[in-house]
Symmetry: C2
DNA sequence: AAGAGAAGATACGCTCCGTTTCTTAATTGC
DNA sequence: GCAATTAAGAAACGGAGCGTATCTTCTCTT
């Protein structure tokens, strides 16, 4: 109709925005290339000239709409830093339907390359590489004796987050984050990284645990 | 060809066995109703007369080929019990390709009823309801002060297991199980359920952690 | 002004789901 | 033992959706 024919970045933005909107509206399993094209006011070949498959389009849409957080956290305490860190990780995905990520993971299992890309993006999104610096700062504050601990300990907060979001398809709220940090993560960190005895009492609180799931 | 036409349970077994074999051989995303029928030496309508959708067929195949474990664990120590418990949970899925369960989860997100069924089956498979009795036995032995702790603590071993299997698509081996129990689960349990001081030194071992993933 | 390159529309082949139709064998009831 | 019912098995179909091919038309470059 309109002679105005978009090109380059403008068109690409429109496509990724359309894909994102489609993702939020109908969810991953029902997102079709046809509908994304229609929503962007164009047609399928335009999409396929940029992204060879559906998963890759969706990954691009995720990257386009979930900018990386910056790593500037220092709340003054280990506990505060962890809560903030995990909170950022989860807030990054607010608005993403519960089935989007599992859907992507599945679909991309067919294509190892795409899967690797998604996985690394998940890891980035979860800023797991920021946990170690957090521990290092805690050591500097005198909250911990060392920041030396295994990868599994560092991954722990985000692994638990995934159990809530990916497996159960539930969006995590703030009390849940606090519970995860207080009831699970901090005890493990203190076990591995040591705790000056006098602080142990106030930092660890094995309080009656809330559970946000049914 | 052969006039021998199967019926009832014999036919159903053949179908579920075929579905299972197909699952192991080509994985969930490439399992087709056509191929399952062909492998069972029959045709699609025979399947559809029993299971209305692909996910429901696969769930039936899982149920048919993954019998529930019996709950008879007592190795004499909390640590041993937990390792055995988690080991059984994971051994139950040995032979199940890494993409099967995420695939199912995705596909069944469309159908809440099927999803609920799968989820409850996962929970059964993970015998999470056996963790509390394990703690109770530990209290009886004098290893713990109490068995009172929140659901999230009870779920912890299996949530971590899922991070390895579902998210990363990796099969968990015995050293990994041991590491999960020693480095994460036991510290948390001891934090929440107390530890007689004299035993704390021998039970908790924040050893250099192994990591089975790349 | 001319040509390259990409946009956009349309249609196609393919796969696979779930259904329909029809024939034929097995089971049940008399 | 024989009809009547039920279900097996074969084949084909409609529909959705992916990814591709073809062709026209616009826009940008030179």
């Amino acid at each position: 109709m309109a002679g105005a024919r978009r090109r380059g970045e403008e068109l690409e933005d429109a496509l990724l925005t359309a894909a994102w909107a489609e993702l939020l509206e109908v969810g991953y399993p029902r997102l079709t290339m046809e509908n994304v094209a229609a929503r962007a006011g164009t047609s399928k070949p335009v999409i396929y000239r940029r992204w060879p498959t559906r998963p890759k389009l969706v990954i691009a849409a995720l990257a386009h709409n979930l900018p990386l957080e910056e790593a500037d956290i220092d709340t003054g305490s280990l506990r505060g830093d962890l809560i903030e860190l995990v909170g950022r990780g989860i807030r990054r995905y607010r608005g993403v339907p519960g089935d989007t990520l599992p859907g992507l993971i599945t679909e991309t299992f067919r294509d190892p390359e795409v899967f690797a890309e998604l996985r690394s993006r998940l890891r980035q999104g979860e800023v797991v590489e920021l946990v170690r610096p957090t521990l290092t700062r805690a050591v500097a504050r005198g909250e911990l004796l060392t920041d030396q601990c295994g990868d599994r300990v560092l991954r722990l907060p985000f692994d638990l987050l995934r159990s809530e979001t990916l497996v159960y398809g539930v969006m995590v709220d703030d009390p849940t984050i606090t519970a995860i940090i207080d009831d699970i993560v901090l005890p493990v960190i203190h076990t591995h990284c040591g705790t000056p005895a006098s602080r142990a009492q106030t930092d660890i609180r094995p309080a009656p645990e809330r559970d946000s799931r049914g």
